[in-house]
Amino acid sequence: WSRPVKSVFVTFPGNIVKNMADVELAQSYLKKFGYMVTEQRSGFKSKVSIAKALKMMQRQMGLKETGELDKPTLNAMKRPRCGVPDVAN
């Protein structure tokens, strides 16, 4: 029987440890894809709260609309996707 090998974890060169907090990631995502600030066609900008923006994003992605940054929402934000904003500008 082989003995379990104790893994040694190393930091690989060039690996940038992204310490971006989940909230920062979410804010960046919500802004990038149009949920956070809806630039309206009349020329006015209306700021949307994070909870509301999250709800919009959750609805778009078919997730439970909690308005909170829960795990399914974070996972969806980390999935590969198209770069076109979801909320048209």
């Binding site: 809806t38 198209c82 770069g83 048209a88």
Partner: protein, 559 residues
């Protein structure tokens, strides 16, 4: 489905496209084929045709780029954003860009086209057996010229079908050497190179000289990506070096040792401990065909859908056999019609039958005490039989859509539509069938001429129980109606008599610039009106607020 604000579509059906450059991940012929098949996804269900241009300006210009690639939407390296495209129009509009930091395949790992050999340029078959051993990459076993090869069937020993794999020892691409092979060693800036290099370039592309001295001859080409090339790490494009040493131990294949993320990696020199050179082992990659089909949907005028199964859903997932979701088909056919060229919604030639009245004609019950110009808020405003109808407390007034002069009324709701209550929240006319739908609270009625069905619960239409009333209705095309309530709206399908999948949507996300507490929504003379009290926000055909005004003075023609 969603389309861009207003209708942005090509004004011609013979769309042209041009491929400006290629990814080194796949052979150019495979890329050509992936794009052609992706366009065919849409031409199969519409009257659109796609013609490839080799030069000049095409409607859809296709290119690969990395990071900041010249538009306002930079890519973000590996994973994350895969591609983007612009809605139809001139210039950059219509164009599709693909992130070349991604590993582009057909979704199932390496796609390696062969050269020379006896397989006619077929794709490598991985795994294949050779000498009773199984291989999942191109190999140099059995040859004496270092050119990697693969079998193009599962069993080389039986079928003897093979071809050479892409290697700079056979050819280069782009550059200025007409595809000549690399010459090793070569001199660049006085230094000798024995392999492709990224030195001297800021885009990270691997290149080589095609003569023995770049400094004097200036001839070069880019190196084709070998199927064993690593992705990312600090040795992009180099091949794994097996065996390699890591933490004093020898590895003969990719490993996840030393990593917390489980990614498979390898050393690209014989000792990671000494050189610290590594990269990630090739994975399945992203299907260029699937991503391109999605992007071309944008290029044709579709926005993101919120149906998970739809091709136009914004998140990428691999499917073996793509078939468009009905939502995608509905969307693209809304814009361009079906294969026979008949558009279900645009350019409809069928006119409403004006000879058959669905409204029971009654004489105006003139009541001088009921002056609509003194009303501060109407129960609902809608268009029925080309007349704007203003409903309030059991009565209504009409203003002709056509003549736009004067108004008639008040008329009694109970005389015109006896089954209805005094307060109507919303109404619309199905111009195809002449049926008129009335909503009050959580109930609705359907009038056809003088016959009526209802009341029914609005839940029967598929609206959730939380909807207390329908506050606005917007007839869209032949068979769809947007129903508004609160800050949401739903799309009601008149054919199926049900709410479509993917709803509700936020009103403000689709109709920018209007109040989210509007209580009347209707279409009048090609514009959309959202009303709050006596004020209205008018959206033009491009869904842009182009005017705000007063219902009384502008629509009701009050003095």
């Amino acid at each position: 489905y969603s389309i861009y604000g207003g209708v942005h579509k090509w004004d011609h059906n013979d769309i042209t496209y041009r491929i400006l450059n290629y990814s080194p991940d796949m052979d150019s012929k495979l890329i050509d084929d992936a794009f052609a098949r992706a366009l065919r996804v849409w031409s199969d269900v519409t009257p659109l045709t796609f013609t490839r241009l080799l030069q000049g300006e095409a409607d859809i210009m296709i290119s690969f780029g990395t990071g900041d690639h010249g538009d306002a939407f930079p890519f973000d390296g590996k994973r994350g954003l895969l591609a983007h495209a612009f809605r139809p129009g001139v210039g950059i509009l219509g164009d599709a860009h693909f992130d070349d930091d991604e590993y582009w395949t057909l979704g199932k790992g390496n796609v390696v086209k062969t050269y020379a050999g006896n397989a006619g340029g077929a794709i490598c078959h991985f795994p294949f057996t050779f000498g009773a051993k199984s291989y999942t990459t191109c190999i140099t076993e059995g040859v004496n010229n270092s050119i990697p090869w693969c079998a193009t069937t599962a069993d080389y020993d039986k079928d003897k079908k093979y071809g050479a794999c892409p290697t700079e020892l056979l050819f280069t691409f782009d550059g200025n050497a007409n595809g000549a092979r690399c010459v090793y060693p070569f001199i660049f800036h006085g230094r000798m190179y024995k392999s492709c290099t990224t030195d001297g370039r800021i885009d990270g592309k691997r290149w080589c000289a095609t003569t023995s001295n770049y400094d004097t001859d200036k001839r070069f080409g880019f190196c084709p990506k070998r199927d064993t090339a690593v992705i990312g790490g600090n040795s992009e494009g180099d091949a794994c070096h097996f065996p390699f040493v890591f933490q004093g131990k020898e590895y003969h294949s990719c490993t996840s040792e030393g990593r917390t993320d489980g990614k498979l990696w390898c050393g690209t020199t014989d000792s990671y401990d000494r050189d610290q050179k590594f990269g990630f082992c090739p994975n399945d990659g992203y299907s260029l065909f699937l991503v391109a089909a999605h992007e071309f949907g944008h290029s044709l005028g579709l926005d993101h859908s919120n149906i998970r199964e739809a091709l136009m859903f914004p998140l990428h997932s691999y499917v073996e056999d793509l078939s468009l979701d009905q939502d995608d088909i509905d969307g693209i056919q809304y814009l361009y019609g079906n294969k026979t060229g008949l558009s279900p919604t645009l350019n409809a030639t069928k006119k409403p039958n004006l000879t058959r009245s669905s409204v029971v004609t009654v004489s105006p019950t003139v009541d001088p005490t009921k002056d609509p110009c003194k009303i501060h808020k109407f129960d609902t405003i809608t268009v029925i039989q080309r007349h704007l109808h203003f409903f309030k407390d059991g009565q209504f007034w009409k203003v002709s859509n056509k003549t736009d002069v004067g108004r008639t009324g008040p008329f009694s709701i109970s005389q015109s539509w006896p089954a209805l209550p005094a307060v109507i929240d919303s109404a619309f006319e199905d111009v195809q069938t002449k049926r008129i739908y009335f909503f009050s609270g959580n109930r609705f009625w359907v009038y056809t001429g003088s016959s009526v069905l209802g009341p029914h619960s609005i839940e029967k239409l598929g609206l959730p129980p939380s909807v207390q009333k329908v506050e606005g209705a917007l007839y869209r095309g032949k068979s769809k109606v947007f129903l508004f309530s609160g800050e949401n709206f739903w799309r009601f399908n008149l054919k199926t008599q049900m709410i479509d999948k993917g709803y509700p949507k936020y009103t403000e996300a689709s109709f920018g610039g209007v109040p989210n507490d509007a209580h009347d929504v209707f279409q009048h003379k090609g514009n959309i009106y959202f009303c709050r009290d006596l004020f209205y926000w008018r959206l033009n055909s491009g869904r842009q607020v182009d005017h705000t005004g007063n219902v009384k003075y502008d629509l009701l023609k009050c003095p």
